[in-house]
C-alpha cells in the first residue's frame, strides 16, 4: 500500500486525506443540525423511532446504570436511555460536533432533563473517559462518519465496565435484491432532492447515501467488534437490513 493510500480515507465515494475527514464530516453536520430531526422523520417515514426503540431494548440497560450515548446529536436516544436508567443512573450525551451537541443540549433542557445528563464534545476514537466507567456505550448512526472505526470500537471497549455492552445502530446493507433496488433508487435519487428542498443542502444528503454504501457489511462490522475485544457479538437486521443493530459484550 502506498503512503498516499495509507493516509487517505473515504468521504462518501471520494478519497480524502485522513486528517481532513473529521472537518468534512463536521461541515456536513453543521449544515444539517437545525433541520436534523425533521429530516430524519421525513426520510425514514418516522421508522427511525422504531429502530431506536429496538436498539434501546437490545441495550439491556437497567435502572441505575451509566450510559454513554456517542454521536448522540440531538439527543433522541439520550431521552430514551434516561427513561430506562431513571434518576439513579446517568447518561452522557457526546458528539464530536458542537453544533449538534448544542441542539441536543437545548432540546433536553427544554424537556426538563438536566439532573442526570451530562454533555461532552468528544472524538469517539479517543474517548476522554476512565477505563471501565460505563455499563453501556451506544453509537447510533455515527460510526460510519468516524475515520478510524477500529480505534473507535477499541476506545468504546476500554471505557466499558465488565458486563457492559456496545450497541451500534447504523445503516447497513439490504439483505435481498428487491429491497436493495428500491433502497438504492430512494437514497440516490430521492433523498438528495428532499435534502435540497427541505434542508437546502443536496450535497450533505448525497454524502449520507454514499457513506452508507461505504460502511462495512453486517458480518464485517461484527468481525471488527470481535477484533476490538468484544464478545458474544451479534447483529439484528431491521427493515430487511436497511438498518442493523450490532451488540457486543465486554466480559
Amino acid at each position: 500500500m502506498s503512503t498516499e493510500q495509507e493516509n487517505s480515507t473515504h468521504f462518501g465515494y471520494k478519497q480524502v486525506a485522513t486528517e481532513d475527514k473529521v472537518n468534512m464530516v463536521r461541515g456536513v453536520f453543521d449544515s444539517v443540525a437545525s433541520q436534523y430531526d425533521i429530516m430524519n422523520d421525513l426520510m425514514s417515514f418516522g421508522i427511525h423511532r422504531i429502530w431506536k426503540r429496538v436498539a434501546i431494548q437490545l441495550s439491556n440497560v437497567r435502572e441505575g446504570e451509566k450510559v454513554l450515548d456517542l454521536a448522540g446529536g440531538t439527543g433522541d436516544l439520550t431521552i430514551l436511555f434516561e427513561k430506562r436508567v431513571g434518576k439513579k443512573g446517568s447518561v452522557v450525551l457526546a458528539d464530536i460536533n458542537s453544533e449538534m451537541l448544542r441542539t441536543g443540549r437545548d432540546r433536553l433542557i427544554d424537556k426538563g432533563l438536566t439532573q442526570n445528563i451530562n454533555f461532552a464534545q468528544v472524538n469517539a476514537e479517543c474517548l476522554p473517559f476512565e477505563d471501565n466507567s460505563f455499563d453501556c456505550v451506544c453509537i447510533a448512526f455515527g460510526l460510519r462518519n468516524v475515520t478510524d472505526k477500529s480505534a473507535a470500537l477499541r476506545s468504546m471497549m476500554r471505557v466499558l465496565k465488565p458486563g457492559g455492552r456496545v450497541i451500534v445502530l447504523e445503516f447497513s446493507h439490504p439483505t435481498d435484491k428487491v429491497t436493495k433496488t428500491v433502497y438504492d433508487f430512494y437514497s440516490f435519487k430521492l433523498m438528495p432532492k428532499i435534502g435540497k428542498f427541505v434542508a437546502k443542502d443536496e450535497d450533505s444528503y448525497r454524502y449520507l447515501a454514499e457513506s452508507i454504501r461505504m460502511h462495512p457489511k453486517q458480518d464485517d462490522l461484527k468481525n471488527m467488534m470481535e477484533e476490538a475485544g468484544l464478545e458474544r457479538c451479534e447483529y439484528f437486521n431491521m427493515s430487511q437490513g436497511v438498518v442493523a443493530v450490532h451488540r457486543g459484550y465486554k466480559f
Binding site: 435502572e63 430506562r84 431513571g86
Partner: protein, 202 residues
Amino acid sequence: MTFKPLFISAFETALNHYLQLDDNVTLFLKPLESKIIAITILPFNETLYLCPADDKIQIIDYSPEEADTHITGSLVALGLMSLSSNPKRAFFSGEVSITGDLTLGHQFQQIFKKLDIDLEKHLAHYTGESFAHKLSQFAHQTHDWHQETLNGLRLNITEFLQDESKDLPPEPEIALFMQHVDQLQEDSERLEARINQLGNTQ
C-alpha cells in the same frame, strides 16, 4: 430477528402500565429492587430477565449477571400459576420448575395478587365521576351475582358427586392421599440416595 426486542418492548410497556394502575406499586416492588428473575418459556426455550426497579419492572433479553431466581415452564403453566389461588400446586405437579431464591420467586408471584387497582378512579378521568361510579357499581353487582351463582353451582355439583353418587372422594381424603404419596416419594428418594451412597463407598 427483531421480533423479540419489539415484543419485549411492547410487553414491558403493557406490564408497567398495568402496574402503574396501583398507586402503591413501589411498596411491592421495593423489596425486589435490583434482583433478577429469569423466566424460561417452554417449548420455545426463550429466556426473559425481569428486573424490578423502584416503580417498574424492566425486561431484558440477556443478563451477564446470574439471575437470583430462575422460573421455567410453558406459557400455559406460567399463566395458570399466576392466576391460580394455589400456585404451589404448579410447582409440585412439575409443570413449573423454580431454582435459586425460592422466596424471591414467591414474592414476585405475590405482586400480581396484591395489586389493588381502582378502576373507577382511572375511568373517572375519561367519563366523569358519576358515570364511572354507576358503571363500577353495575360491574360489582354483576360480578357478585356471577360469583354467587357459580359458587352455588359448584357446591351443588360437589355435593352431588361426593355425597350422593359417591363418584368422587371428598377433598380431605384426597389431601391425605396426596400427603401419603409425597411422603412415599420422599422416602423412596431418600432410599435411592442411601443406596447410591452405599454403592459409592464400596
